[in-house]
């Protein structure tokens, strides 16, 4: 009845800790980076599918609309009401191939825009609706990686995923419409991605532990010998006894850790590194397109944006031979928006800007050699790889980036 006050405090503290973990605010960088990586993988996925669109999404294909509906029971019965709720999907019951093709193309374009972070809210929502529609149209060809693609696209659609690492942010900075400070967002969408990733590993490990071959340590023997999955050759000792026992149990341990201990920060890096090795091996040896890439892309969500930004700066500090010093034209300085723009596109902080003595822009590399200005910036500032090579961009930038030094 009467709990000691310190117990009440402990409960309160636990609730506060959980509340802070799930709903606290932090940098949007991790979410933005995940969006960029995920969007790129979604593009590759649609590029792949586009070559077989007719086979899988047309009425003449292997899965006409009626069959797609039958395969994935299309409606959900509400037990307490005599109504059925349809699955979300723009292609439910659509038999006109032109509409299916249009939805496919729009989804593909949305994936490109999601990767770039352009009109991000609209792009991510369109991408999610498109992926769900296509998966509900033909679920007979989906593998685990596709489920990751669908679920993660939905998280990105409800998250402020354009707040960092996006063209949207660069455009806002350039126009002076947003603060130069790192955008702070509530962490719950990123935590959902991390939780879902951990849940995936935990439940698959649980399911595997019920499997006879996982229990007797021979599970990894079989995939290595399936001709239909074979990609690159693997040294024989890795796929034979006794190594196979070791790798089978190690797989279970790594996956279990990815589902549980990964949230314990002192172990996080090692566990995720083990996951990278695991999926690296799967990607090398087995033909399951994009599966491993999609899985490891979720690992970004286990890091806070501040950690990622700090890591990039630490790495940049060690890359002395890539450092570049750009001298501004004499008597000129960068406008506030141009300064913020240039700082944002250079996460490794490899380029520094100083007052110059000549009337033109100039740049020197780490050894003091004069190098072309914009080409050198583009080679070092990661963020401008997606747009910096467009002809005419930098000449326009030059015209608007400077203002006279007052006084």
């Amino acid at each position: 009845m009467n709990q000691p006050p310190q117990d009440k405090g402990a409960i309160r503290e636990t609730i506060d800790t959980l509340n802070d973990f799930w709903f606290g605010f932090g940098s949007a960088t991790a979410l933005g980076l995940f969006r960029a990586v995920f969007g790129t993988l979604a593009c590759l996925n649609f590029l792949n599918l586009s070559q077989m669109w007719e086979s899988w999404f047309s009425e003449r294909g292997f899965v006409p609309a009626w069959l797609g509906q039958r395969f994935l029971w299309p409606q959900v019965n509400l037990v307490w009401l005599p109504v059925e709720v349809p699955r979300m999907g723009l292609l439910n019951g659509v038999t006109d191939d032109r509409i299916s093709l249009l939805v496919f193309v729009i989804t593909f374009v949305a994936a490109i825009f999601t990767a770039l972070g352009l009109w991000t809210r609209v792009s991510t929502v369109t991408l999610a609706v498109g992926i769900v529609s296509l998966h509900h149209r033909d679920a007979a060809i989906l593998h685990g990686g596709d489920t990751v693609l669908r679920v993660m696209s939905l998280y990105l659609a409800i998250a402020p995923s354009g707040a960092a690492c996006s063209l949207d942010r660069l455009i806002s900075l350039w126009k002076g419409k947003t603060s130069t400070a790192i955008t702070q967002v509530s962490m719950w969408p990123q935590r959902l991605i991390a939780y879902n990733c951990a849940l995936l590993y935990l439940t698959t490990t649980w399911l595997k532990w019920g499997g006879h071959l996982w229990q007797n340590g021979t599970a990894n023997w079989y995939p290595a010998r399936l001709q239909e999955f074979h990609r690159f050759p693997v040294p024989a000792f890795l796929t034979n006894t006794p190594t196979i026992y070791f790798t089978t149990y190690l797989t279970l341990i790594v996956e279990f850790a990815l589902g549980t201990l990964v949230f314990y920060r002192p172990l996080r890096g090692w566990i995720l590194f083990s996951g990278l090795l695991l999926h690296g091996y799967i990607e090398y040896s087995m033909n399951i397109p994009l599966f491993s890439y999609l899985m490891v892309s979720m690992y970004i969500s286990f890091y806070d944006g501040e950690e990622i930004a700090a890591w990039a700066k630490r790495r940049g500090a060690k890359l002395n031979r890539f450092k570049l010093t750009v001298a501004l034209p004499k008597g000129q300085k960068l406008t506030q928006s141009a300064g913020a723009f240039l700082a944002t596109i250079d996460p490794f902080c490899l380029v520094s800007y100083v007052q110059g003595d000549s009337p033109e822009w100039s740049a020197q590399n780490h050894s003091g050699k004069t190098v072309p200005v914009w080409r050198s910036i583009c080679g070092r500032a990661l963020g401008c790889w997606i747009f910096g090579w467009f002809p005419g961009f930098w000449s326009r930038f030059e015209m608007k980036a400077l203002e006279p030094i007052s006084g």
Binding site: R60, L154, I182, S186, K208, A219, L226, H230, R231
Partner: protein, 207 residues
């Protein structure tokens, strides 16, 4: 570095968002937990050890309508069974023969990953995944559309396909210390008499 620490870390998150997150976490967790073994599920065997969790989860939570509706309608449905409970232990591939109105025959090699180059097998992996289902007796309703698609591929109004036979080839992978079977077993698992009206419909659709 410029930072923007909020005054209170949680002040801007509405209670409705928190309730949604809680509901979502419960839904995906309940849905993703493994199903109990079929013997337990059908009541032949009593659950033992940790099997009680999936048993009760399936019985009382997994089919809880708000969870089912939410996950299936939105697309958040998920079940993670890659290489589980045991990895696939059999190689499968398919081929077909197509018979035409004039009695002639053609062979169709359904894309077989083991015969394809690196790029092609990357692009065509969906064929393997589809045949995992379309070659399975549990999905026999896929067989007719499968055969019809092959008929479409060989359609010629002057000499249309009249029959399609689907063949399944399989070879189990021998376990450690066991002799590996050299050849694949073969079985014609479906013969389809082509519905000419379906072919005509497709031709009309292409006009």
């Amino acid at each position: 570095m410029a930072t923007n620490e909020p005054q209170s870390k949680t002040q801007h998150v509405s209670i409705w968002v928190k309730l949604f997150v809680l509901f979502h976490l419960m839904a995906i967790t309940v849905w993703s937990l493994p199903n109990p073994p079929s013997a337990v599920d059908t009541g032949k065997v009593s659950p033992a050890g940790t099997q009680w969790i999936p048993y009760y989860n399936k019985k009382y939570l997994k089919e809880f309508p708000p969870f089912v509706v939410y996950l299936t309608v939105t697309g958040f449905w998920q079940y993670w069974d890659m290489f589980a409970p045991d990895p696939t232990q059999t190689d499968y591939w398919a081929e077909a023969t197509v018979q035409f109105k004039d009695g002639s025959m053609k062979h169709y090699q359904y894309p077989r990953m083991a015969l394809l180059g690196l790029y092609e097998k990357h692009v065509k992996e969906r064929y393997r995944k589809f045949f995992e289902r379309a070659g399975n007796d549990d999905y026999n309703y896929l067989w007719t559309p499968f055969a019809l698609r092959i008929a479409h591929m060989y359609d010629n109004p002057a000499n249309p396909p009249t029959r399609v036979k689907l063949y399944r080839h399989w070879r189990p992978v021998a376990g450690p210390g066991q002799a590996q079977q050299e050849n694949y077993d073969t079985y014609m698992y479906f013969e389809y008499v082509v519905d000419q009206k379906e072919l005509e419909k497709a031709r009309d659709g292409l006009k």
